[in-house]
């Protein structure tokens, strides 16, 4: 706090010397009349901030100076009165300015505190880059540090993802060797696998957070299936972009899609059963008794299974990617990964656009 004050003071002292003649002449008069009103504090005047009061004083100042010299001999009483009025005006002016400066200093401190508050809230995970929309109720839940760390890591993950997609795009438009392409494809695959590892760690900390896809943008969340994308849907989206495919490849991809669908169905049904058993646990006993510790304890045990479902869903995504990599050539895989990456970029762009769309005036 001391530093802000000292930052304030020096520039203003210099400003004083650049001001119009009038305020200085006011002080000269004060000196001549044993100006007891003059205090060191009153030097600090934000001259550029309050031009109005300055001009107000100016009108008193300048004529008085000449009056003083011209009329001292002729009308001493009038002069004395004018000088007194002038002193009074100057004193009031200084007090006003002092009050104003103190107000400015208080506001500035408030601003600093607010900025610090904002930074802290930002670091708690509201990534503007990933989520334009905010929590529906407008306040942030108390997020654990593990989830905060996950959100920050995810932000970096998306940045790296965008970089990789750009690189793939550039490279595929030109001439590129299979060797170089294979390297890019492997990196892209590893990048996805890294995300699954991150999610697995976060699921142990807060499985509901992962289940609800809170780190994703709104459009991505619309397509959510157990904390991420649905592998069979993705295959459907990407299939046309692999052309041309050999007959065997077409067969393999179709089989993969069907297997994916069956695996997803099985896991989905398992999830439904989990929901039913959880609901049963919560509703067990006498609903209305007011005490329900055993029910909560039982429900907590059931909830443990949710983590394994989130992990299994990611396992399906992992395996689907792995199988596609096996079925496709390097070049096809590169094109597929580019298409996949851009598909998610488009979903994120959709989220942003939707959040900031202009509403039609009603």
């Amino acid at each position: 706090m001391n530093t802000t004050s000292t930052h304030f003071v020096p520039p203003r002292r210099f400003e004083i010397y650049e001001t119009t003649l009038s305020p200085v002449s006011m002080w000269e008069e004060s000196f001549k009349n044993n100006g007891g009103i003059y205090t060191p504090n009153s030097i600090i005047i934000p001259t550029n901030a309050k031009p109005d009061s300055l001009s107000e004083d100016t009108s008193h100042g300048t004529p008085h100076k000449f009056d003083q010299e011209a009329s001292t001999s002729r009308h001493p009483d009038k002069t004395q009165r004018r000088l007194a009025q002038n002193r009074e005006a100057a004193r009031k002016s200084r007090l006003r300015k002092k009050a104003y400066v103190q107000q400015l200093e208080t506001s500035r401190l408030k601003l600093i505190h607010l900025e610090q508050e904002l930074d802290r809230v930002r670091q708690q995970g509201f990534y503007e880059g990933n989520r334009v929309d905010t929590n529906a109720l407008g306040f942030s839940d108390k997020m654990s540090s593990g989830i905060v760390a996950f959100e920050m890591e995810y932000g970096h993950w998306v940045e790296e993802q965008n970089r990789q997609i750009s690189e793939l795009r550039t490279v595929l438009h030109g001439q590129v060797s299979d060797v170089e392409l294979r390297l890019l494809v492997d990196n892209a695959m590893k990048h996805y696998f890294q995300l699954f590892r991150m999610k697995s760690a976060a699921a142990k900390i807060d499985v509901f957070y992962i289940m609800s896809g809170m780190w994703k943008t709104s459009a991505e969340r619309f397509f959510l299936w157990i904390g991420g994308f649905r592998p069979s849907e993705l295959l459907k989206v990407l299939l046309p972009h692999f052309d041309p495919l050999m007959d065997q490849q077409v067969l393999d991809v179709c089989n993969l899609r069907q297997s994916c669908q069956q695996a997803e169905d099985a896991v989905s049904q398992g999830m439904e059963k989990l929901q039913h058993t959880l609901a049963d646990s919560v509703a067990a006993g006498n609903l209305g008794e007011g005490s329900y510790i055993p029910q909560i304890t039982c429900a907590m045990e059931r909830l443990e299974a949710l983590v394994s479902f989130v992990n299994q869903a990611d396992h399906l995504r992992h395996e689907t990617l792995q199988q596609m990599h096996r079925i496709l050539t390097t070049r096809q895989a590169a094109r597929g990964l580019l298409a996949l990456g851009e598909y998610f970029q488009r979903l994120r762009a959709l989220s942003s656009s939707w959040a900031t769309r202009q509403r039609e005036p009603t």
Binding site: D252, A263, D265, A266, V267, G270, Q312, T320, Q323
Partner: protein
């Protein structure tokens, strides 16, 4: 362990599960989708539940349930079953045990 070996050597697909285990249920559903009727052993209903769990872990299962045996041989848990299915190697494995629908 004897119990495990005896139960798992039953013909076809054997799934060791628990009545409360939803993932075991998911695996069951998958096999049913493939036209197989798996034998489900709910070990929590067995008095030797703890022993069976330990035996399954010793055989190499990451989690005691679900544990899937096909034709007497251990396939593994959910991860292994799903990986096999996505790679296309599960269907040929269970083909001899698919219910004849014709």
């Amino acid at each position: 362990m004897d119990k495990v070996l005896r139960m798992s050597s039953e013909k076809g697909v054997v799934i060791f599960s628990k009545s409360s285990c939803c993932m075991s249920y998911a695996v069951q559903v998958l096999f049913q989708d493939l036209g197989v009727h798996p034998t489900v052993c709910e070990i929590d209903k067995d008095p030797d539940c703890r022993e069976i769990e330990k035996a399954l872990m010793r055989l190499g299962c990451s989690t005691p349930v679900p544990a899937v045996f096909v034709g007497g041989k251990l396939v593994g848990s959910t991860n292994e079953v799903m990986s096999m299915h996505l790679s296309g190697s599960l269907v040929p494995l269970v083909k001899p045990f698919q219910a004849n629908l014709c």
